[in-house]
């Protein structure tokens, strides 16, 4: 009985995390897909990528977020989408850290391309970190532990 409850909680947590992270990614992609040029400017302002890669990233990154988010929600191709979500969130975290370290006063470009988002680097870092926690949890579920995640993922292959 106890085991059953534990399993139920674990399943709920797993599916909940998957869906929450999926929504986060889709929400983040929406405005950037609509306004690639504004997003390109934000990427440029980070001064991390070489100029040649600015527009390409602005064009493809939002789609990567949208597709990763959708796959997470639908629960299809989980190993691939969980892997990508970890990589993306870690890259965003590093970019934010780098930005903070240099004291650059630029907008985050996390969820929108508008300038209304006042630069608040600690908040961004904390927010991204909480997503990383969810993402790493899903990674462990899907790749390492033998619990719902792995069983689920073995049903689905491209």
């Amino acid at each position: 009985m106890k085991e059953k409850i534990r399993q139920k909680i674990s399943m709920t947590l797993y599916h909940g995390s998957r869906i929450v992270l999926g929504i986060v990614f889709i929400y983040a992609s929406y405005d950037k897909i609509l306004h690639p040029a504004a997003f390109a400017k934000i990427i440029y302002n980070y001064q991390i990528l070489p100029d040649e890669l600015v527009n390409l990233s602005a064009l493809f990154l939002p789609w990567l977020e949208l597709i990763t988010g959708s796959l997470l929600i639908i629960g299809v191709w989980l190993p691939g989408s969980v892997f990508i979500s970890n990589i993306l969130l870690i890259i965003f975290f590093c970019a934010l850290m780098y930005n903070k370290a240099r004291g650059l006063d630029i907008s985050c470009g996390c969820f929108s391309t508008g300038e209304g988002e006042a630069p608040e680097s600690n908040l961004y870092l904390l927010r991204d970190f909480s997503f990383i926690v969810i993402s790493v949890y899903l990674f462990i579920k899907v790749f390492i532990s033998d619990s719902p995640g792995n069983r689920g993922s073995s049903l689905i292959s491209p």
Partner: protein
């Protein structure tokens, strides 16, 4: 890593590859379908930032700016935040932080004629505050506005007169 089995690694790589392909197709297709297509590679150099949407170059060189300064023929406007201005600015410059321009404009620009030469500056090659402020001032009726690129650093490095606010 032995605790992750080989099969799932192969599966993951395959899925990542598929996702990448979908993303490439979606990205290219959406860009092609847009009415305001974005070039895949664009000139993002600092210079291109100083061109207005109408194609006019706003840049003024340091030597030109310092000449106008010495003759007292230009008004310098600091587009950075008030704190940065207080810590050090071009001597005689007026503070008008771009982010507060909407409501500080009248007070800051009082007594500066629309005909006078105005030079905006901020700090860093890629800082856009000065360009944005220049466009703002032009829209407000100032006809002769220029941007001193990387203004504060360049000014200081060349030992030109500066001031701090206590």
């Amino acid at each position: 890593m032995s605790f992750i089995n080989r099969q799932i690694c192969i599966k993951t790589s395959r899925q990542v590859l598929f996702i990448t392909l979908i993303v490439l197709v979606a990205g290219f297709a959406s860009n092609r379908l847009r009415y305001d297509k974005m070039p895949l590679v664009e000139d993002w150099s600092a210079k291109s930032n100083l061109v207005t949407p109408s194609g006019e170059n706003l840049e003024i060189s340091l030597s030109e700016a310092s000449n106008l300064f010495k003759k007292g023929k230009a008004v310098f406007i600091d587009a950075r935040s008030r704190t940065e201005y207080d810590a050090g600015h071009i001597k005689g410059a007026t503070s008008l932080p771009y982010k507060e321009a909407d409501w500080k404009f009248v007070e800051a620009m009082a007594g500066i004629s629309e005909e006078s030469a105005v030079i905006t500056y901020c700090d860093g090659e890629t800082c856009e505050l000065s360009t944005e402020l220049a466009v703002f001032l032009r829209n407000a009726g100032y006809k002769n506005v220029k941007v001193l690129s990387n203004g504060w650093s360049a000014w200081k490095q060349n030992g030109l007169p500066v001031d701090t606010e206590k």
